[in-house]
Amino acid sequence: MNSFLLPIVAAGLAALPIISIVALLVGAGIVAETGIELPKLGIQNLMGAIVLHVIFGIVGPFATALIVTARSTSGLAVEIGNMRVNGELDTIEMLGVNLSNFLVTPRLVGIVISNIALTFYFGLIAMAGGFAMALMGLSMPIATLVRMIETSIKLSDLVLPFLEGLGYGLIISSVSVYHGLRVKNSPVDVPRETTLSLVSSLSLCTVMLSLYLIFSSLA
């Protein structure tokens, strides 16, 4: 992997501890909710499909995007903004180095790769949290839950989180880079653009989630 890309991916993967905690709790919560409510409606046989869809298709990608936004958007906007203020961006260009190839593209690709990987990681840990809840909270045999999931899993359960992770990653990275590059030569621009990048990234991720939910329910 490109030596300039590696630290960015590594920085994304440094989010593993917080992702693990959130995913465990979310997974446990979803299984608890479905395990209690679905039998009341008589549709407990759909539990596997619903848990998979909610964790891998909706909550997992979005929660991952929120955590990556909180960690990476501000960091990236501040990094690029400070480079502008310190004259580093001008220097890169004056040295005949393509700013896009050297600075922007590795950061876009790094965040997108990290976000996709973290989305799948979130899903797996959330499933582990769900199993723990099924075993300890609902006294449901793990084999039962595994069988439910095994019979309901489809290729789209893996393709969807990949596409969502890609989409959220592109939003987060491009918004961060855009606001970082908008900094002029004043240090006071940096916190303003950082805040704007966070707000824009969260808003656009929410819009993407809403659009996904609307169109997937229509399909």
Binding site: E79, M83, N86, G87, E88, D90, T91, I92, E93, M94, L95, G96, V97, N98, N101, F102
Partner: protein
């Protein structure tokens, strides 16, 4: 081979069109010449540097770099011109997230796409001369201004550019650093390969080195005899 590297004709220079810093710039830099431009703070020295390298527009007049018209330059033309110029910016300016070696290698690796082994070989003659042997793995935050300027100077020269632009090179250098800079500039003079354009706030004590000396004021350049 083009003999006139830079040619400004009645150019208006500034950060904004309606606030010109220099209203009438006429300057011709020919191959092999050594030119110094002095001027006080804020008079527009760095603006000229940025205009030469295409970061700022010239608002009126003509500007040719290496025989190419720089009025509304395309990205390939900017890249062509920038790769022919070695630049030591004001304050040196190194990238904070790169080591000294990565900073020096930056224009070669990502501008000229030179392999790493060749970069190491090209750097070798500069290491002892500028006392950089022990600094290659250091980050800029651990360097003083003298060391930053030396690294920036080596970065400007390492790809053997046609034109070397030094923006306030001696500011922040200690005596040994100034001596090292002059040794290298004198070597350039004897080899006649690199044209040197120096911008400085202070008057130079080695006036004989330069073929042309100018003083920059808001109405343009005035040749100093």
């Amino acid at each position: 081979m083009v003999d006139t590297l830079l040619d400004f004709q009645d150019a208006v220079i500034g950060y904004e069109a309606d606030i010109p810093l220099i209203s009438d710039l006429n300057l011709r830099i020919t191959r092999g010449s050594h030119v110094v431009i002095t001027g006080s703070c804020g008079v527009g020295k760095s603006a000229i540097v940025k205009t030469i390298l295409g970061l700022l527009n010239h608002w009126k007049g003509e500007y040719y770099a290496f025989g190419r018209d720089m009025g509304n330059p395309s990205a390939p033309l900017l890249s062509y011109v920038r790769k022919k110029i070695g630049i030591l910016p004001d304050r040196g300016i190194l990238l904070q997230h790169l080591t000294v070696f990565q900073n020096i290698a930056l224009p070669l690796r990502y501008g000229h796409f030179v392999p790493l082994e060749k970069v190491t070989a090209l750097l070798e003659p500069f290491l002892e001369e500028f006392h950089l042997e022990d600094l290659l793995d250091s980050y800029p935050s651990s360097l003083n201004l003298d060391q930053i300027k030396k690294v920036g100077f080596v970065r400007a020269l390492i790809n053997n550019p046609d034109l070397c632009i030094l923006d306030d090179p001696f500011e922040g250098l200690d005596d040994e650093g100034i001596e090292a800079f002059w040794r290298r500039l004198t070597l350039i003079d004897s080899e006649k390969e690199i044209t040197v354009l120096v911008f400085t706030r202070k008057s130079m004590n080695r006036k004989s080195y330069f073929n042309h000396r100018y003083h920059l004021m808001s109405d343009g350049l005035h040749e100093v005899s």
